[in-house]
Subunit: 264 residues, 2 copies
């Protein structure tokens, strides 16, 4: 299980400031820190961006690429911004992402073919509702692959994000287990080793004690690793959760063990 930093988000005030002032320093510093902490890619979550999405996205991509050559996940729902990111990027890029929402099928999915890049597919209904059980999730997976095929995007390009639910949702804990089952059984269902990605921090979205949140994320990230998750999107600066993810990744995958492999 590889770890991907979700730290670069436009919702943070320092990132908003960096964008507004065209000051790349806070972006560079953050990305360097994420790289130092072992991130294997950077999620560039710009949100939809404002009046000049193309320039804004190019600024973000250039700032990030000036300090790392790791792959970038371009994380925006705005097709104009997404296309600008794909144009601007020199690093390896993953589109994050598309769903059955008509606008995304029409405007985002074709970019994966046009730029010949990987694309993340969210397990959401066309109206962005979250499915309620494994059967619904599998139906959506199959529909995502059909749509991808129709758009000329090969199945190996798709990375499935089953959408980790917040525990704060009424049935969040039940859905969190459903997500684990989906990750585990998806390769058998599809007949090939489809890659999966999950947002660990989503589990504890909302109010709550930080230590308790960490405890739940640490346990859940181990369960995700055991289920076979390929990429964990998380706060790479949260040492406790990252250490748990590292240990879980070893337990889930390695053929030989030595204590030297364990973080810390």
């Amino acid at each position: 299980m590889k770890l991907i930093a979700d730290n670069l988000r436009i919702t943070k005030t320092d990132m908003q400031g960096a964008l507004k002032n065209r000051d790349s320093k806070p972006i560079k510093e953050l990305v360097k820190l994420c790289v130092a902490k072992g991130s294997c890619a950077i999620d560039v979550n710009t949100g939809p961006l404002g009046k000049s999405p193309e320039e804004d996205m190019a600024f973000f991509i250039e700032s990030v690429e000036s300090v790392t050559d790791l792959p970038l996940l371009i994380d925006t729902s705005n097709p104009v911004a997404m296309k600008a990111g794909l144009k601007a990027a020199n690093n390896h890029v993953i589109i994050n992402g598309f769903s059955l929402e008509p606008r995304k099928l029409e405007k985002i999915l074709p970019l994966a073919k046009e730029y010949d890049v990987d694309i993340i597919g969210f397990l959401l209904y066309p109206d962005s509702r979250v499915p309620k059980d494994e059967v619904q999730r599998f139906e959506i997976v199959l529909e995502l692959f059909e749509q991808a095929q129709a758009a000329g995007v090969s199945k190996e390009r798709i990375i499935i994000d089953p959408i980790v639910p917040p525990l704060a949702w009424e049935d969040g804990i039940v859905q969190a287990r459903s997500v684990l089952n989906v990750i585990r059984t998806l390769p058998d269902l599809l007949g090939f080793e489809v890659r999966t990605i999950g947002g660990v921090s989503n589990l504890t979205t909302g109010a709550g004690d930080k230590e308790k949140k960490n405890l739940m994320e640490q346990s859940y990230v181990a369960m995700l690793a055991a289920a076979g998750l390929d990429y964990a999107l998380l706060d790479i600066l949260n040492g406790e959760v990252v250490a748990a993810a590292g240990a879980a990744g070893i337990l889930a995958k390695e053929e030989l063990f030595s204590w030297g492999m364990v973080p810390g």
Copy 2:
């Protein structure tokens, strides 16, 4: 997933002293601490005991029962000591345990029928070798149930211990994943909700940094919980692993979540 203290072990010098001096105080103090930390049963690991196994075992059982009415796992390979424990105990008792080893089939397994109690079955070959994959483990499970049936012990009385392997073994990490798969698939294989128990501390037996050991146990106990383990046998005084086990137990089983459920 319920937690069971593995702390009461004859291998500890204070327990040896307590036995030798017939001083029940160290035993009582330890058991009270285990109960306070949330243990739902006490594993009484006396080992085979020496020249007077019946008196020694009775002393242990009486000492433990003087401070708790929790169930006791009587953990000895000596049939004489086991029988003495079953005679002496007033609390609910579980025999820990039997295997395909001829002496255990002959001398320990029948005690489960005689005293009408639960008994733990270890997934080991008759010569105590550890199986090497899921197929071998399933074969042993089926043989254990056949032997139990022949001894008049109903299948609901059996609790399977798949034997958590030390990571320090050459293929320990591979076997640790095999154990997870066995726990997950056993109910389907057997056609009923067989209960399972696993010794978490076994994973990190041997030399190694304490923090790294905790990290591996925390991740593995979450994987055990997700696989459906019923009883985790562990060092109940190890706060970090116990907290992880508590969080994992919530994630693995609960239908509703609130932060008040989370330890800490």
